[in-house]
Amino acid sequence: MSLQHYLVISSILFSLGIFAVLTRKNAISILMGIELILNSCNLNFVAFSRFVTPAETIVGSEVFRFDGQIIAIFGIVLAAAEAAVFLAIILAIYREFGSIRPDEVDTLKG
């Protein structure tokens, strides 16, 4: 369970997220892909926080620095906010285009 394990897992998650984003024909699936990407990032941060960042000493007990973890928390929050807005926009698209297939939303081009 070394750092590299986590990194490999997060890399795979990231690639899968990218794959979803590139290939899925449903806006919501794309959103899922994005969530995978964000999760992989968070996993990275937490892993680095655990293994890389130097320890700090606070009132006698030694803890690791939590910077990475806190970034991950913010990441989750941002992901949530983004998901909310994303879904709202998907609804608007659905309303206007009657479809949420990304390739059917292509009136703007050229």
Binding site: I18, V21, L22, T23, P102, D103, V105, D106, T107, L108, K109, G110
Partner: protein, 737 residues
């Protein structure tokens, strides 16, 4: 006195023209432009005569900085020697007479004032050319007379023939002028100046001495020949002579003044002026060109029926004669012939004008129906240089004339005098003396050096002299003798008014040597040096001294061939005595021969055209090829056309290839080749290739824009492909570096 006199000579005609131009801008006419111009000319004439007394003074009385460029300067100034004075007098005199003649001849023309204004402008330009002391000034005058020639040939510009002829004249002479300009550039590059003789001894004439015997002779020969090119154009020498016959489209006084007496003689004057820089090679080239011209033009003249064209070819021939003389070293003889020729040829033209005028009275105006066949003849307006073989207008066709001596006695007599003069009838006529001087000079050279070239040249000159006599008398016989061939026209004919006849009489008087002698006796009329040409056995040009003091080679009836020989031989060389002897002999032989050929020519002419002992037509049939050659003017124009045809075929192919839409069927003139093939090709090149390249770049740019647009499909996932693919690419590309 000199400078004011010359200034007046120049300014008087210029003022006459300027007044016309200024008033013209205000859309007015000076009511008596004719008198004004004539008066101006007479003033100039008077001043010119006064100048005779001044020849001995400083040769460059006035030099002003014209262009000062710091290190290089061009000056303008007057150059006054006896040649200048003679030319001045010839020009002003002939011009005055032509002015007077025109008052009658051009009467009633709608553009009557303009005619005189142009004449004034011409006179100014010609005089400017004559008095200039540097090549640039000569060139300026040279081109200006060309312009006037253009304007005056095209005076009746409504006629397409005239419009074409004037253009042809200008362009053809310009070809020669460019050669002259290149020659000037060479001289300038070498000497850094264009002044001939600027008083401070840094003119070309002085500098050229320094070249003597150096390796620059070839270069100098080329420069000399190039300068001569200008003369070839202006003096209508072969092969650029074709414009002069066409120039007869202009009013006849113009032909007399410009295309007989003065402008065309300017070429001879130029060569004479530039005599000091001529090398043996260039001299020989000049002589040959002159000789060929003399012969070619003379033979063509035999078969012409248009009275003016006969005279035109005669002019060409005589100009060739002069060139031959100068080229062969008979500098004085050439100039002398120039002078005598100016008078008798002007007389001939004016006389023919008088005849035409007489016939012309049938027609109210020059411009309507002067050429009834105009409408029938399809003139190609699109040709740059037009038409050499225009139909002969009926009032100029000698076949319509005959027996006019009774109708127009004064005209007849004066023209006869001129004809006798040009034919070289001995002793009483000036033409004889000048022609004899040329023949003697050339023969003298030939004998002195045993030069085959000069024997050939002498032969040419002699032959030309005989032919001249023949066709001139042919003209006289056809026009004034025999029975009227066109009775209707004959009945209309009448003697011209006095304003036209008086100039004829004056000119006739001038055809006697007594008058000429007056100014040729000037002491210091001497040929210039050619000091650089000191090839030992070819020292044929005399430096100063003795000849300088000699008079021009003849005195009234006191035939002084000895004197002439003296001039030619030159005193400086070791073999001066031999030379004298040879030249003496040569002049005697030449005189005899020339009298013989002239007599033979006149006799034949009499037999053919007066006595009708022989039939000209019969001879023509017998010698059909020769006749055709003459009739078609040695196919010069056809040659230019022929080159053209080949090029036109090529042109058509070219056009077919490039799918151009316009093809002109008719082939006409050298200029057309240039226009249709070269310029069309270049125009095409400009549009398709140069512009096309730019357009191609623009198209590619646009297409690239279109491509990029296509990537912008509107589908978001495409964009994401680009983003993520882009990341991969950036990393990979950077990795490769």
């Amino acid at each position: 006195m000199v400078v004011p006199l010359i200034s007046i000579i120049l300014l008087a005609p210029l003022a006459a023209f300027t007044l016309f131009a200024v008033l013209g801008l205000a859309k007015r006419n000076f009511p008596r432009q004719d008198y004004l111009s004539t008066f101006a000319m007479l003033v100039a004439l008077g001043c010119s005569l006064l100048l005779i007394q001044e020849v001995t003074s400083d040769p460059t009385p006035l030099t002003v900085e014209w262009l000062s460029l710091g290190s290089v300067n061009f000056s303008m100034g007057f150059y006054l020697d006896s040649v200048t004075v003679i030319m001045l007098i010839v020009v002003t005199l002939v011009s005055s007479l032509v002015h007077i003649f025109s008052i009658g001849y051009m009467h009633g023309d709608p553009r009557y004032p303009r005619f005189f204004a142009f004449l004034s402008l011409f006179s100014f330009s010609m005089l400017f050319l004559v008095v200039s002391d540097n090549l640039l000034g000569i060139y300026i005058g040279w081109e200006l007379v060309g312009l006037c020639s253009y304007l005056l040939i095209g005076f009746w510009f409504e006629k397409d023939t005239a419009a074409n002829a004037c253009k042809k004249a200008f362009l053809t002479t310009r070809v020669g002028d460019v050669g002259m300009f290149i020659g000037m550039m060479m001289l300038f590059a070498k000497f850094g100046t264009l002044s001939l003789h600027d008083g401070t001894e840094s003119g070309i004439f002085t500098l050229v001495e320094g070249l003597s015997g150096t390796g620059d002779m070839v270069w100098l020969s080329v420069a000399g020949i190039l300068i001569f090119c200008g003369a070839v154009g202006k003096s209508a020498q072969v092969p650029l002579h074709t414009w002069l016959p066409d120039a007869m489209e202009g009013p006849t006084p113009v032909s007399a003044l410009i295309h007989a007496a003065t402008m065309v003689a300017a070429g001879v004057y130029l060569v004479a002026r530039m005599f000091p820089i001529l090398t043996p090679t260039s001299s020989l080239v000049i002589a040959y060109v002159g000789g060929i011209t003399a012969l070619v033009a003379a033979t063509i003249a035999i078969v012409r029926f248009d009275i003016k064209r006969v005279l035109a070819y005669s002019t060409i021939s005589q100009l060739g004669y002069m060139m031959l003389a100068i080229g062969a070293g008979s500098y004085v003889a050439g100039l002398f012939h120039l002078t005598t020729h100016a008078f008798f040829k002007a007389l001939l033209f004016l006389g023919s004008g008088s005849v035409i005028h007489a016939f012309h009275a049938m027609h109210a105006h020059h411009d309507d129906a002067e050429h009834p066949e105009d409408t029938a003849h399809e003139h190609d307006d699109n040709s740059l240089v037009h038409e050499h073989g225009a139909e002969i207008p009926p009032d100029q066709d000698m076949r319509n004339m005959g027996g006019l001596r009774h109708k127009m006695p004064l005209t007849f007599i004066t023209m006869l005098i001129a004809t006798l003069s040009i034919s070289g009838v001995p002793f009483v006529f000036s033409g004889f003396w000048s022609k004899d001087k040329i023949l003697g000079g050339v023969l003298g050279r030939a004998m002195e050096w045993s030069s085959v070239h000069h024997y050939i040249l002498f032969g040419m000159a002699l032959l030309a002299a005989g032919i001249t006599a023949f066709y001139m008398f042919r003209l006289i016989f056809m026009t004034f003798f025999g029975e009227p061939r066109n009775q209707e026209m004959h009945d209309m004919a009448h003697e011209s008014p006095w304003v036209m006849v008086v100039p004829l009489i004056v000119l006739a008087a001038l055809s006697f040597p007594v008058v000429n002698t007056i100014w040729f006796n000037k002491d210091n009329f001497k040929p210039p040096k050619q000091p650089h040409i000191h090839a030992p056995q070819h020292a044929y040009v005399s430096p100063d001294s003795k000849i300088g003091d000699a008079n021009f080679g003849f005195s009234l009836f006191g035939v002084s061939t000895a004197q002439a020989a003296e001039e030619d031989a030159g005193p400086d060389t070791a073999h001066a005595d031999d030379a004298h002897h040879i030249h003496h002999l040569a002049h005697n032989i030449a005189m005899v021969l020339s009298i013989c050929v002239a007599g033979l020519g006149i006799l034949l002419s009499w037999l053919f055209y007066h006595r009708r002992r022989f039939s000209a037509e019969g001879v023509a049939t017998t010698f059909r090829p020769v006749y055709n050659l003459f009739w078609n003017k040695y196919y010069f124009d056809e040659f230019y056309d022929g080159v053209l045809v080949a090029l036109t075929v090529w042109k058509s192919r070219l056009f077919a290839k490039f799918d151009l839409s316009f093809i002109d069927g008719i082939v006409n003139g050298v200029g057309k080749v240039t226009r249709d093939v070269l310029s069309a090709f270049i125009g095409f090149f400009d549009n398709r290739v140069v512009d096309g390249f730019v357009n191609r770049v623009a198209e590619v740019t646009w297409a690239a824009g279109g491509r990029i647009r296509k990537i912008q499909t509107g589908a978001i996932q495409t964009y994401l492909f680009v983003v993520l693919g882009g990341i991969v690419l950036i990393i990979l590309i950077f990795r490769l570096f």
